[in-house]
Subunit: 203 residues, 2 copies
Amino acid sequence: MISEAVIKRLPRYYRHIKHLADSGVDKVSSNKIATVLNITASQVRQDLCNFGGFGQQGYGYDVVKLKNELAVILGLDKEYDMIIVGAGNIGRALTGYKGFRDDGFYVKALFDIDPRCSSINGIKVYNMGDMKQYLADNHTDIAIIATQKDSAQSVADELISAGVKSIWNFAPVEIEVPDGVIVENISMSESLYVLSYRAKNNN
Amino acid sequence: MISEAVIKRLPRYYRHIKHLADSGVDKVSSNKIATVLNITASQVRQDLCNFGGFGQQGYGYDVVKLKNELAVILGLDKEYDMIIVGAGNIGRALTGYKGFRDDGFYVKALFDIDPRCSSINGIKVYNMGDMKQYLADNHTDIAIIATQKDSAQSVADELISAGVKSIWNFAPVEIEVPDGVIVENISMSESLYVLSYRAKNNN
């Protein structure tokens, strides 16, 4: 059982190692990784040991190999079809986010209670009433909830009853889901509150 | 010294308690808080003890009092002036985010290397070349970096040399800052990788 704290650090490792690989770096020490990520070198070694320990003493980590291993661990060796529910500021911004495709995440459709455009950034916009049928016809790995907070739970319920197993929640509310369904929350307000906490205690 | 893990949970407590207060709830038990946040009741009690322990045995927590105490702890009892650097999808979406104002965060200006609009959602858009002068003339508590990753560090350096102490980073890269400057990262790709990790291991 990998701890939550380790799981949360894995993407940071991956992002940094991918950057090194893209920059043509061959190998890297745990010390160097630690400095960039602002954690200790022993933490780096311990974390990566959880997944098999790819480093060699006195040599460090093979960057390309580590990148590929981390990608497999993170499930980035496959492709994911996604839909976005909610065509407000956030939903629209997400249709234009180029990083998704680089990592194998494909936005296939956007749903809104009041679709004002037929497509946004090349993504077709459907009426919410058509979501159930869409999900019956199209395999969907991940649904992004980008609605107002008041409708987030009912949207989640609808997604889950249509068979969606993974939800990425941008609405500022806790969503309850049954066992077997995954929710990952990305909350701007939570991140901002952490910042204001730190700013207040920064003296 | 409050641990990182506790600091990261505080905003979730605040958001939930605020929701209860807005719904007219008077008191709440640690058990009920724990259920919604998907942590244990003893964790809730322990976390809140770090800040003085507001609950009473057999009664629970006074919702309004707890909300106000948490707001003070999180630094939400004051107002913050913010600027956004980068008028791409994310920067533009942030100008329209109504949640900021409710919590006392005010977006005052937007900067871009190629400003195509004079204002977005009522926020004036300036050329990057004018940022130094703007920061000299206008007290700014928080700068939001919403640029491409390649320019995030140089933008941060410029902000810091102009006296900005708190940075909220939306660019998908680790930013290095000197002591006394705070960076809070909000990374969509990291959140998405956690989701794909969980989806992969959800069997």
